[in-house]
Symmetry: D3
């Protein structure tokens, strides 16, 4: 009997029931103000992953050693941010309810808000660790409160002062940097301070949401994103940061802002695939604690 | 004294006061469901027009013979269709109020709705002539009423049955074609019937809004659009249609759905520039009646 | 319960059991001598089909009216043509054995040989109708007997003289045209003669295999192929030809030589999707006779 | 003994001594005012010709039946038009002196002037047949007399009134069209009048220089050129025109304005290769008369 | 009243009268010997700057804190280097005469010569600090004295021995390196020695012209340039160098050799925008001393 | 007398007889499993080298100081790996027989096997130094023993345990890393250990074959390759490694896996050209010892 064509991120063919981690895609970029295309990120990552090895020589582990389920992309409404966020939140809540870790693939960075709403509801006292070139702390953007440029500001309204930890930030309005000085913990340009932060969070076992805007990477290794910002971190620095932070009690995560059509060499998509592989392995390695 | 850098569509450097026709750009594509990028259309047309001659051998006329003003792009809110439409409507109303013809450069096709609202308010009994590959007659698209795929349906709610005349249509859901059979005048695949229609409209001098989705063109000559549909009309057929229809009492118009980044050869942008030149000349030739 | 990510050509989500037509992809292009990339054709067609309507205004029918199953891509061995052909033949045989029509998506044109071997075994006296820019009648190509440039020559060894009907041919060595004059029915440049041929084949109800190399299309509307040849047919001419030929007793078919990366505008892939939609509808309309 | 890497246009490997026709490339585009890149035209044509068949089904002839020599590209000075033209003229004169037909591959259209100077010196009473989208009749362009936009104007200064025959023209300043009305024979948009002209020229056996700006082709089939102009002729129409005009007494020719990097699909280069094949065959078929 | 479309580099909307720094573009690349396209650099920088923040977290300053005027692009003659240089020199002289700092956007590197002529006339004893991958010290290039490859050699004829300070050089003919050993101060590969040099120049307050060929950057972060040379400096190293050198008495500057079409990801243009923002802020911070 | 168009890598125009090093191209990529295109590598390197200087400031030497011959590309059979390898082996053997160093330009990495067969036959006890992102140690790939993914495994069958020295490896199946632990000397991620190895090999003067898969470079500086792997070495690290290893007794070498079409910015090809220049100079500097 010939079977239909199932397409998942490579090595993520566990059943939903057995899975520790559940991937879900949010192909949405309606509020992107500069160059759109992040909507195509999750399907590109899934599709191009067949060129990736499941084995990581960095962590000496293999994706096939773990139980991961890829639930494909949500079908989201273009033109209504609120409707899209509601759908994302519902999916994240369902995964959390089933005792699994939701890993969201964006889309533009606004999608994080849907996931954070669900995670913060389950985990009061949530911390957010944020890797990004942009502060994303505007109060509104051309009048819109729900915009990629405001997403961490909206998250701040949920989790409060001192619970958002920003790394690699190198772009924003002056007012955003001033807001950060008051309300978030911002580490400009790189990952300085991440090890110390993780140590503290490990000590307290507080729940952490990890949001990775791939434009934290330098455009030399990741040109395929809507607003590339020179002066970013390297792939190996990001890998290091992921392995560091994965020791904390991560209860939700996302990876976003790959706009695959902007880099026709395919390198950005291939790099996103590898970041996702490393992230999945790092998260799943720490997962047994979660099951307790 | 050195002057600042003014950038207009070539040959459109009249003062606003003197102008018969006013160009205004709507760089918006938030509801585009497939491939975005039409937001970059108006500025690309303006920028690349410096490679265009102002003289048309087709109409033996020169853009510099006419008084046209290019007001640049509106700054629209991404992520809120209603806010964007309101801004477009306001600009169109202002131009109409000043006794000039508003010519809108999209952007995705939804922008037409803002202009039609303004024009229909000034001109009761408005007809809409619609060149497009797509019927754009859905009632909603993934829940959104304000979507490029619904724009003519929304326009129908304004102008009513029998006043929308569609040409070149070759794509849509079955339900859209059924709706058209009841409520609009749809001419599939090409311009058959346009000459007769124009003759009737000339006889009655009824006001007409002309909306041109550039994807009515065959993708061979216009690949740079979000949803290219094989089997379209040629550039010369479109030129012919524009000259034909310009004899009617056109009181507003738009040109939309160029997504310049999707055609890196630049041909689509160059072709859009030439269509705009021919449209401006054709409209302005018939303009004297307007000045009465 | 969240379900996994099934990806099919749009509207082809019948069960295998219920299906009349079964799609299967052969992502192979190892013998391509000029520009490779046809290996990515079937997955691109499947993936990009989500931008396509299921309804055809040309045939006033909808893909969802029919029972079609998409079995995804075979996993073929690069570097061994014989192994790849054996896998294709096995899949075609299985589909034929189950009383369904196998519709192969290439890949380079050599993949046709695998399908023809299976179909000719079930249907003695098979005719082949061949739409292509290239004669593909070389005896060998740089020493290889199994090459895209030789595929109709190999098919001729199976079906014999007078049973291969070639259309749109406009490229080849002089020796291929001489071979055609002796052994095949070649119609250069276009579809002249196709209606007459179909009439004859309908009269006799002889079984027909239809192989469509998409490079029969003019490069203006289909640049995304390994060896584009100026002077081809238009999309509408190809549609016409498909509707004509579908009246014959088609027992197997293929569509090949889309190399999506060579046309980054996406037009070629979108056009291939539409050709496939029209082909599926045309074939399935005539299918009831098959079920007898 | 291993031999060095000789690269010629396919099938053009005659010795210089034996050759009837000599190809020479002029990789120059310094005066291009819009999008440069024609400098890469001749080497791209030569390089990509290995994907072309030497046999023409249109003329039932094979490049290998003729004696053609490809002398490669001249090394021209960027930034000095006069120096470049002098080098082109010298090469053309040498080829003419040796009793062979010089066929120049541009480069931007200005290169024609170098060849015409040489040919007109040998052949008083020279006619020029000019296929182009652009009139190229400006007296100067931003102060430069030696510009691609002025090349036919400069040629007119050499050959005089009534001896330049222009076809396919669809772009230029009003003043150029007015100049043409007085001094050249301009046929707008297509090839109307070419057959009659050729007949007259055949009757008188007057010498003819043929200059083909490939942008006479519609951008749908030839996007890879600096200033694409919608509304051009098709590949088959150009082929027809070449076969028609080749019956006249052609004593020099050129093919120019392919800018290969502007069409990364490769179709424009492939099409230019095929136009060159057909031109070479058409010219060489008529060549015996020349040898008398 | 609707106003016309003014387009400037972001945050540079001072009046000319009030401005300290005046931007002027030189869209010229006629002598580029390899890959042209730098002509499109200045308009791309201006156009894409709308995706840039005006605030610099590196210098904790905002473009809008300063008075900068963008005068747009000069209209230069293609094909005549001398005419283009004269126009550039005239514009630079006018800006200098008005007591402002001229900041030139190229274009190919030859444009620097026009500016240096004007600056050296006003400031005898001028030093030139030169960031570039290429020595640009040829005496002529294929016979042309006015060529991008000769521009620093021509500048040397103006300022004399020991006054040209070259950094990041990693490509050139052997003879250029030999010339440098005798006549310029060349620092190969990077910025070693820049801090010491700046200290000396600050001590003497000698006037300095700063010319930045963006190809000093590594092609990984700046692929969009005519002749990319592996082994360059990083963006952060360049930023550092700019801040260092800006302490000297800079009286004129330029930024050149962005060829935006060669990097369709847009990263090179975005990076050039950010380099320009940082350069403007660094220069303007030191400006008050100039006004004395 | 006008001469034909000879095209070589820049500065490699020695006669075969006089040459120390002979370049030969293997435009083959039939077994590439992911993205093909390496077949175009050698001709792109040769063609684009005209934009490269022959002088190396890194080694203070000039290609024109040495005797190098470029024999162009072999004409290989697509679709038969064994036939292609036999042709490569024959060419390598001929060059070795004539006392010259064969330097192979791939093509996919499988081509190395042909060269290694020839070199190992002449030089028993051969060592292989292997720079690559991938281990290439699979026993078979989808059933094929002759695959790019298996090439070092096949080489191991020739040279045996402990004679393959792998550097920069960062991708592979777990089983390949396990194989390496037993049978090769694998240095993950970078060049650690290369200096020590070279010292040992210099001491023993054992013959060494050097195979460089350009994907050892980080994709930021070399995106134009079939399977880019983030986390690679920099251009300057590779240069260093080449200069280090060239002190050993290198008796054959190759450079492969440039797929030029995948990086339309041209940076990858330009970088490959520079790597080849540096490799040629480094190898030829050590060559006199070879001639003894």
């Amino acid at each position: 009997m010939i079977s239909p064509n199932v397409e998942t991120f490579i090595g993520c063919d566990s059943s939903y029931r057995a899975a520790d981690i559940v991937l879900y895609g949010a192909p949405f970029d309606s509020t992107t103000s500069y160059r759109p295309g992040a909507r195509f990120g999750p399907s590109a990552i899934r599709h191009e992953s067949f060129g990736l090895e499941t084995y990581s020589p960095y962590q000496n582990a293999d994706l096939t050693d773990f139980d991961i389920f890829d639930s494909g992309d949500l079908e989201l409404c273009f033109g209504s941010s609120e409707a899209a966020l509601a759908d994302i939140e519902a999916r994240a809540s369902e995964i959390l309810h089933d005792g699994k870790l939701p890993l969201l693939l964006g889309g533009e960075h606004l999608v994080t808000l849907g996931a954070v709403r669900a995670v913060a509801e389950k985990y009061p006292g949530l911390h957010i660790i944020h890797f990004d070139a942009h502060a994303d702390l505007r109060d509104d953007y051309l009048g819109a409160k729900l915009s990629h440029a405001c997403v961490l500001r909206r998250c701040h309204e949920i989790v409060g002062d001192g619970r958002i930890h920003q790394f690699c930030i190198r772009s924003g309005e002056r007012a955003e940097f001033e807001f950060a000085a008051q309300h978030t913990e911002m580490h400009k340009f790189g990952f300085t301070g991440l090890a110390e932060l993780t140590e503290q969070l490990c000590a307290t076992k507080e729940p952490v949401y990890l949001t990775i805007d791939l434009d934290c990477l330098d455009p030399s290794c990741f040109p395929g994103t809507g607003t590339p910002e020179a002066g970013g971190v390297s792939f190996l620095q990001l890998l290091d940061a992921i392995r560091t932070v994965s020791k904390a009690n991560i209860v939700g995560a996302d990876l976003n802002e790959l706009a695959p059509m902007l880099d026709i060499s395919g390198v950005s998509t291939a790099t996103a695939c590898k970041v996702l592989r490393e992230l999945l392995i790092a998260l799943d390695k720490g997962w047994p604690g979660f099951q307790v």
